[in-house]
């Protein structure tokens, strides 16, 4: 699971008011190189919840992203590379996504988050 996807996942357990973002518990993180596309990154920058993204990247062991970011930073190659790396090249293979309100763990196995709810959570 890439951080791009994590940035779109939330806990939808019954009764939860704000299930975003899910906290990451990383057991196995894998890096896969992928070609960088500046246009794509610029478009994604507008859509990404930055705070959730930075926290998630740190949970995955990557500390190069700044706490806050604004569009002017996209002109810097270094920033662009780091953004690209964290967004698309870090994969959570094994671990869990934790609901911020209930603490319920959604397992991530072989890179895939299992967001299926139990009967009593619906």
């Amino acid at each position: 699971m890439r951080l791009l996807t994590h940035n779109m996942l939330s806990s939808n357990i019954k009764g939860v008011v704000n299930g975003f973002p899910l906290r990451i518990e990383a057991e196995k993180v894998v890096e896969k190189t992928v070609e960088m596309n500046g246009d794509f990154l610029k478009k994604m920058f507008e859509k990404v919840d930055w705070k959730a993204f930075v926290d998630a990247s740190r949970a995955m062991g990557y500390n190069e992203l700044p706490e806050e970011a604004d569009p002017s930073m996209l002109d810097s190659d270094e920033f662009l590379n780091n953004f690209h790396h964290a967004l698309l090249e870090l994969h959570l293979e094994e671990g869990a996504l934790v609901c911020p309100e209930t603490g319920r763990r959604f397992p991530v196995t072989k890179g895939i988050p299992n967001m299926l709810l139990h009967e009593d959570e619906v």
């Binding site: 779109m8 996942l9 939808n12 859509k47």
Partner: protein, 357 residues
Amino acid sequence: MDSLSLLWTAAILAAGLYWFFCVLGPAEQKGKSATAISGGSISAEKVQDKYKQYWSFFLRPKEIETAEKVPDFVDTFYNLVTDIYEWGWGQSFHFSPSIPGKSHREATRIHEEMAADLIEARPGQRILDVGCGVGGPMRAIAAHSGANVVGITINEYQVQRARLHNKKARVESLCEVVCGNFLHMPFPDDSFDGAYSIEATCHAPKLDEVYAQVFRVLKPGALYVSYEWVTTDKFRGEEAGHVETIEGIERGDALPGLRSYADIAETARRVGFQVLKELDLALPPSHPWWTRLKMGRIGYWRNHLLISVLSALGIAPKGTLHVHHMLFQTADHLTRGGHTGIFSPMHMILCRKPIST
């Protein structure tokens, strides 16, 4: 016969058998092998039982007693059939209008790309595939549009198959799969730039529920296209033959109850969508989608023989033969549905979530 002629005869026989089973049989040359057919996430010993449970659940009349059980049975269905579908049909578990001069694969891809075009998917957008199966459409749509696609499917086995296929694809970086229930989507409100579902929402007991979820997770102004399985205006509930065909389709495809074509737009509007376009893609000038099902007696018996041998050898789980037979019978019902025009698997509806609600 002298030994040379014997050798030649044996070689030709072997080549013939290979061609008959291994070339004509599978849908894709480098795809699923018949020796790798499993019951999905169901362990081999349990396939027979699970099949019986599935069959008895759907034998009940149209009013499925407990709607809550439906997702479990849809899950079971896909555990049982995914491998056979991949082996015999390909990675896109849906129909497409046949196109003279083009292969099934080409026709499938064109049908999928049209969905991407209808929702105007573009690079930099995040698109949701509602009910993504093993990801055939996802990969084609990501490749065609350059958009990022997130797929959701309830079946854990399919999710792993999708991931495997994604890894081998050129568009791996654009595709991601999540295991979840599209009736309770694990996404925040207003998050996707577009969405599509290809012949998947038919598994929801109430179409309102899945449409409402899609509506919720789309950004205002975003487009959603769905290819729906429906009974058409030619369907007559009083005609026993019609009812038999439709019930056969429902039973053999894990459907809680086929919708009438008239229900689709009504449902979309009820949850808040603006309906932009609606068209049964199966109607002329499209060519038949059901001709692909005509595998013929020979094809069926060949596959039956192959699966029997593999089951006897313990390679394919016991029960696979029943599942294969069920799918063959279902193919009959589907063909009749298409031929008589009472059923369509591609009633297209294009909707927009209004900018201000």
